[in-house]
Symmetry: C2
Subunit: 325 residues, 2 copies
């Protein structure tokens, strides 16, 4: 007698996900992965969910969806100064989702696994009567005691950001045809975050606090302020914008400062470490820009607008992206 | 100036999830958790997703949904012989989900954290235009080399199961009012799996293969057969049924054998280890029953029905639960 065919769910896993499995995944054939965290390293672990129609568009190509899912999580590792180790992914899709979607999704994971140096450890594939719902748990490691935190900023530290701010938020406007994006650069930044892993790995001993900007610069800076019990002042005119964002015009500056999906690093760096920060930026090829300063005071963000006026973050329109506001 | 109110998403996390956070979670206030896996232990890690309308009913109480989510994952640890360490959870819910739902969900997690000895490490809360979609990643540990696998069964090993089989599948019939369930025992088993952690921890050196029964006994036994390159024969008359399942009548026996949601352990145990298995069962208070034998041959399951007839698992109606069949 011949072996009966495997149910489709297991065939899908074997065809598309098993090739992504690495050491410890046991070929995705057991109830769990088993791995040894490298000796003398702490485990860093985070999870993010992406939902079609909320975090990506239902007709976004599945390879880009997969890469965004992996990269938003890699950005959390970057913010902690951690090196990637592996990931687990759960995928809930409508029953009529075709093999091509899974093939594209797996191809996106494969490309970024190779680019960022990690492998699949496990996960789950289920059906859903709703939109595609994805969840990814990422594992990384740090040398003991070196993880970057949000709570270490000190008065006088500069507020720094990597890369450029606002492209993701403008890219969403482009994707939904509310903004002209002739080069496609903004859409590309919305769909494909650039986790700043190399920079994050270089920041131990340089940054006193770090996080990634995912919910909007002003709101996320507020998190560092609360964790560090400090105020922060930033100047809109200092916030680094891409050429495409500048071309979109000053009316969209507020969108850039409060929109989400940047996946840049937001840092607190003492003046004495600025030379080391610039050297780390040069070595990793990732630009950094000083946009303000942390000060003693209430844990809030003050923004100096282009016209010199000051705005507090108590204003709703500076609040950033919240799922339940 | 007073501190501006936090956006609702972060208030939800602070109110309901932060009290669940344990060592390494950093109060859920950073981009990731940082923890040290205990020295000399391997990390065991798995992820499962649950979707309303697929894995639980949309009006199931949120505390029971949370406990089912945690327990289905704990069952994977049990199947690996691992001790619980912690978990991350992502929660995607409709925008109009009220505070009471989150309070109930967190209360369920709190109850089972205490019962099973683990704490929350991190996660994500997002909105969805679809049904509630949950994903949980569980972490456990084992002594190096002691994880139970699916691939170690040998010819002549007995096929064993813990507890009773079929209550979960019949409980779903009860929940959807297709089966009378006067005591509510079946519904309770559907909503609240019993992960067999204590038994799993006692099986190193006793079981040659193990997994948990989540997709139906026959289908899951097929996974051990494929992983171990063996056939298996089981007798329907030996499969342990609860009093409630027996009361449901013999017409539902096939549902018991092929339905999902058992979360019992399925084991391969050599005859020489049967006394040790029975002692482990006695010590943990978890019943075990021998239902068949592994044999050389094609990796397939043969079922001897109550009337003595033989059935192969190539039959679709013995295939168990697959999300995409």
């Amino acid at each position: 007698m011949t072996m009966p065919p495997l149910p489709t769910e297991f065939a899908l896993i074997a065809r598309h996900f098993r090739p992504l499995a690495g050491p410890g995944a046991l070929g995705l054939g057991d109830d769990a992965a088993v791995l040894t965290v490298p000796a003398g390293r702490e485990l860093v672990i985070a999870a993010d969910a992406l939902v079609a129609g909320v975090h990506f568009l239902p007709d976004d190509p599945p390879d880009l969806v997969a890469r965004k899912l992996l990269r938003t999580n890699l950005s959390d590792l970057a913010a902690m100064g951690a090196a990637p180790l592996g990931y687990l992914v759960t995928v809930s899709v409508p029953k009529d989702t075709g093999d091509a979607w899974f093939a594209g999704f797996a191809a996106g994971l494969a490309a970024d696994q190779a680019a960022f140096g990690l492998t699949l450890l496990g996960g789950d594939t289920t059906s859903t009567p709703g939109p595609v719902s994805l969840s990814l748990t990422i594992l990384g490691t740090v040398a003991p005691g070196t993880a970057l935190r949000r709570n270490g900023a000190r008065p006088g530290d500069g507020v720094w950001v990597s890369g450029t701010i606002g492209d993701g938020a403008l890219g969403l406007l482009s994707a939904t045809r509310r903004l002209d994006d002739p080069t496609g650069a903004l859409l590309d930044r919305y769909r494909l975050p650039r986790p700043r892993l190399a920079l994050g790995l270089a920041l131990h001993g340089i940054a006193t606090a770090a996080m990634d900007v995912s919910d909007g610069l002003v709101q996320d800076l507020g998190h560092i302020c609360r964790a560090s019990a400090l105020g922060a002042e930033i100047e809109a005119g200092l916030v680094p914008l891409s050429e495409a964002a500048r071309a979109a015009g000053p009316a969209l500056l507020e969108t850039c400062l409060t929109g989400g999906d940047d996946y840049e690093l937001l840092l607190a760096v003492p003046q004495a470490h600025e030379a080391a920060l610039r050297e780390a930026a040069r070595a990793t090829g990732i630009a950094v820009t000083r946009i303000g300063i942390f000060r003693e005071g209430e844990p809030r963000v003050t923004l100096r607008a282009l016209d010199g006026s000051l705005h507090g973050d108590g204003r709703r329109d500076h609040g950033g992206w919240s799922h339940f506001a």
